[in-house]
């Protein structure tokens, strides 16, 4: 009897909570995204036009997948993982929902980019994502102090001892592999070959370890290290380099000779999205050229919006052209979809590098 009462109480309070929260989210878009991708002024314009409130949660690739995995794909209405992390996560954890492309204004996207993303995020015939923002990672260098750094492996040079920082994450492994003359992307599908390749990279990173000052974990911490001059050569995103370039002309983003690593962040629907209509409205809204340019100004990276270039900030455009002459742009290595299970191989390599003396 007592037990029954307790259950009833629990149940009714749960139902109450559910009703309360659904009433609140009636016209709300819960967006899981990266810092800078949904600036306040754009959110305000969107609300004026549609009456929908956008609730932003800032995140990164791994965190997005973990959050959605924990809830089975609920809690958010629209997410923005990179295109290479969509199909693997979908295959393993079933957290996304196929996109209804008829609801998207295809003409507002740069056609080649839309096609590439659609191909890369197709699983069992369903398309899961459309592109939003793209950029690269490569080297952020203080050219006055470390002018010889041109490629990832130059970060091992003994002259730079104690002045180097990079992350212990997968882009570092991929970048070093390319600089060592290998093609990690071609080995993605072959577990044995990839493991072998990664152990070569591991040996190189262990060899380079004495030169490293610290392995950075947060973008802001790295920017501080570069700003104070404690670090003069690092591996980071292009925007970080351009941001520092505005404060100090010597520091800038350098596209490595073996190729910058290119990523595209997407719009993807979580499996249990509650406001799909609002998600499509938001996508079509932010892909308008003027709005896209506003987002570029806040995020520091360019979007897949057709015609947004005309509205983009001139300083950023100049910085982009300085870092990416034509051949460097052609040499960008775009991440192909990561097959499920690759993270386990890379993870052990990263752990062993960190543990090595």
């Amino acid at each position: 009897m007592k037990n029954f009462k307790l259950k009833k109480l629990l149940l009714s309070s749960l139902v109450g909570a559910a009703l309360f929260s659904s009433a609140l989210s009636a016209e709300e878009l819960r967006l899981l995204t990266w810092g800078g991708y949904a600036p306040d002024d754009v959110i305000e314009l969107f609300k004026k036009e549609t009456g929908i409130d956008v609730k932003v949660t800032k995140s990164n690739n791994e965190d997005m997948i973990s959050k959605l995995r924990a809830t089975g794909g609920s809690g958010f209405d629209l997410v923005q993982p990179s295109q290479d992390r969509v199909t693997g996560a979908q295959e393993n954890y079933d957290i996304y929902k196929p996109m209804d492309l008829s609801k998207i204004k295809a003409e507002s996207f740069i056609a080649s980019m839309l096609e590439a993303t659609k191909t890369n995020t197709t699983l069992n015939g369903d398309v899961y994502s459309v592109p939003h923002i793209w950029g690269t990672s490569g080297l952020v260098v203080n050219t006055a102090a470390a002018k010889d750094v041109k490629d990832y492996t130059d970060l091992c040079s003994a002259d730079l001892s104690g002045k180097v920082s990079y992350r212990l994450k997968r882009p570092t492994l991929i970048g070093f592999a390319f600089a060592m003359g290998e093609d990690p992307f071609a080995a993605y599908s072959d577990v044995e070959k990839y493991t072998e390749l990664m152990s070569k990279v591991e040996a190189k990173l262990v060899e380079c370890k004495p030169v490293v000052k610290t392995y950075w974990t947060g973008g802001d911490a790295l920017l501080n290290l570069l700003r104070s001059g404690e670090v003069t050569a690092s591996m980071a995103w292009d925007t970080g380099g351009w941001k520092l370039n505005k404060e100090n002309k010597d520091i800038t983003f350098v596209a490595p000779t073996s190729g910058a690593l290119g990523w595209i962040d997407t719009f993807t629907l979580p499996r249990k999205t509650k406001n799909e209509e609002a998600a499509y409205k938001w996508i079509n809204f932010v892909m308008q050229p003027e709005i896209a340019a506003q987002i570029t100004a806040s995020a520091g990276n360019f979007t897949a919006s057709e015609g947004a270039d005309a509205f983009a900030d001139d300083v950023l455009k100049a910085q982009f052209q300085a870092s990416f002459p034509k051949e460097a742009l052609d040499n960008v290595k775009w991440y192909p979809p990561v097959p499920a299970g690759l993270e386990a191989i890379e993870g052990k390599v990263l752990d062993r590098v960190k543990a090595a003396k």
Binding site: R69, G162, D351, A356
Partner: protein, 286 residues
């Protein structure tokens, strides 16, 4: 009347039991379930002990645990060494306002979050930081010195973070020691050291042990301090659990590590209690 007071008692206890059941016991059972399975194919799982055997087979993992445990024990010992004289001074030497003032001074750093305190240490210790600049200004060193990103920096951060949790139980237990007994010890020919060894420390033992348990558990489970202050070699077991869960998507191994951390740390605490001949109930009573 009796039945009523009994009902009242259960009502008061309900939030505690709910908290224990919903937030501690159920999640741990779930975690054990996850730890005991292995992914065989996408979305396919099978029962397996492989995650636990992985911990003992891969030297990296148990070495990380060992390193974390040893550093936590050292940090606990250092905290005790620093906190004991401080607590003795607060509890026995001072009276009235200066006593509460000093106690308050120990408390003040905890009014800001751990993150802010850790960033404070980063500002002090970094190459372009306060200490490095001061040393150069005094002419003691010729160039900038890097004090951050090593194990000593982690140790400083950990000891600083745990200080209060050692001082509070020590002050409480030392205050309960009557001054007459200390005086009697001196009257009977004891000096400072014998009094300390035979009177004060035995009396303070429950407080010492409970302080040590709290500090050890807090240090072992710390994530922020080793992560921010530690260098390129600094591995911490909680960091490993975080990586398994968040960046590797390997919940199975992460859960196994979580369970192992719970078991192994409980074992260390149990050993500590055995060695000091204390029981958990006697330390909790202090």
């Amino acid at each position: 009347m009796k039945a009523q007071s009994r009902l009242f008692f259960y009502l008061l206890l309900t939030p505690f039991f709910l908290w224990l059941l919903l937030l501690v016991i159920l999640p741990h059972i779930d975690m054990l379930g996850i730890a005991l399975r292995e992914q065989t194919a996408p979305r396919q799982y099978a029962f397996s002990f492989s995650n636990f055997s992985e911990f003992f087979k891969e030297p990296l993992y148990w070495r990380t645990f060992l390193r974390t445990a040893i550093m936590s024990i050292v940090a606990t010992a250092l905290t005790l060494l620093i906190a004991f004289p401080v607590s003795y001074y607060i509890a026995k030497m001072l009276r009235g306002r200066s006593k509460s003032l000093l106690f308050l001074l120990c408390l003040i750093p905890f009014w800001v979050s751990e993150l802010v305190r850790t960033y404070g240490w980063m500002i002090l210790l970094r190459e372009t930081g306060v200490i490095s600049n001061a040393l150069q200004w005094l002419g003691l060193v010729s160039g900038p010195v890097e004090l951050l990103y090593n194990d000593a920096a982690i140790m400083v951060g950990l000891v600083y973070t745990s200080m209060l949790f050692m001082v509070v139980p020590l002050v409480t237990v030392l205050e309960s020691l009557s001054d007459d007994i200390i005086e009697a010890s001196y009257d009977l020919g004891g000096n400072m050291w014998t009094t300390m060894k035979n009177i004060v420390i035995p009396h303070a033992m429950p407080g010492i042990v409970s302080g040590c348990i709290i500090v050890f558990m807090m240090t072992l489970g710390n994530y922020l301090t080793p992560n921010l202050l530690g260098g390129k070699d600094s591995l911490w077991f909680t960091e490993q659990i975080y990586t398994q869960f968040i960046t590797r998507f390997n919940w199975e191994l992460g859960s196994a590590f979580g369970i192992l951390l719970l078991l192994l740390s409980s074992l260390i605490v149990w050993l500590g209690l055995k060695l000091t001949k204390q029981t958990l109930t006697s330390t909790m009573a202090s």
